[in-house]
Symmetry: C2
Subunit: 217 residues, 2 copies
Amino acid sequence: MRLHDYWRSSASWRVRIALNLKDLAFEQVTVDLLAGGQHAPAYKELNPQGLVPLLEDGADRLGQSLAIIEYLEERYPQPPLLPRDPALRGRVRSLALHIACDIHPLNNTRVLRHLREAMGIDKEGVQRWYAHWIAEGLASLEAALQASAGRYCVGDTVSLADVCLVPQVGNARRYRCELGPYPTIRRIDEALAALPAFERARPERQPDAGPAAGVPG
Amino acid sequence: MRLHDYWRSSASWRVRIALNLKDLAFEQVTVDLLAGGQHAPAYKELNPQGLVPLLEDGADRLGQSLAIIEYLEERYPQPPLLPRDPALRGRVRSLALHIACDIHPLNNTRVLRHLREAMGIDKEGVQRWYAHWIAEGLASLEAALQASAGRYCVGDTVSLADVCLVPQVGNARRYRCELGPYPTIRRIDEALAALPAFERARPERQPDAGPAAGVPG
């Protein structure tokens, strides 16, 4: 299996966690987002969307982190990242999509770059934008977790929701967002950080990791 | 079954299509997004995220349109909205998430309102923002569809990808975005529009539909 990814991409980070949890070996191919590797013709041929991650599994090629993880779940079901019960599966997916659709897309690199370069928003304005969506998203996520959280996001079993939570919290920390108001999120994030599958997926542990730079301007 | 929705919400629109395709009867409860109904304490109690749609199915409550549709798919499998083969299922989900994670979240009402009200971007600036993400998103979607499209997004069977496509194209039309460069998307959208399940889900056909206003300022 081959994963086209980038150390700092949170969507790639999610897939690395899932692959590790399922104990699947994978080769990593770096797509350097800062150097524009995602727009290179050879990569666009593999993934017309021009985003990471992309998974190659034999002849199958798949983009979009959550589609990749659902695919892994179906093809390599052990250990499961979704519970058996349809209502609980729905709860896990709902939390995962809360992050993947309503927090992350507003704050990823291409959006921050557009604010800066195409709209002329200054560094402080971009930081305010980032912090606004983190605060709104994590506050409602904290509220949603009250109905489901155990040791992890849904009960005491690691799930797709946890796979999405850790990279999002990691990003929020990198942008120095205030995490004080979200004690449940912080507690779950801490419990997950101790698991080897999560630890090995961290950006700074990847072969293409650059210097531990702070907030990009 | 009860769907808390709003006529103009594209995420609600997706769920209406899926319910219609599966021929499931549902009661609609309007959450008036323009009047702030999503922030009302009684609604936040049902859905702490404060977004629509929300599905109630017996004792189960579920937010996030794609989580709702996956739940419907598991609990009411006929007719299926996902193919059987894992790689094809992945392709369908990848196209759906392309829309749900990388196009729609940048252009929904709360984001446009934030640009206008919190950041002071003028009407033309907001329209440029909208058109930029539509153009980038639909261009890469058009490219991705070349590998999968038949009569519909993936082959000749209606799927979750189609359920997401129609509301996104409807939104792009409402904001008067240029659709000329995306012939495959236009062709599929037209084929889908002719199906009764899609026709009945259209915003203007909903009980809470307001006047057919143009682009909101």
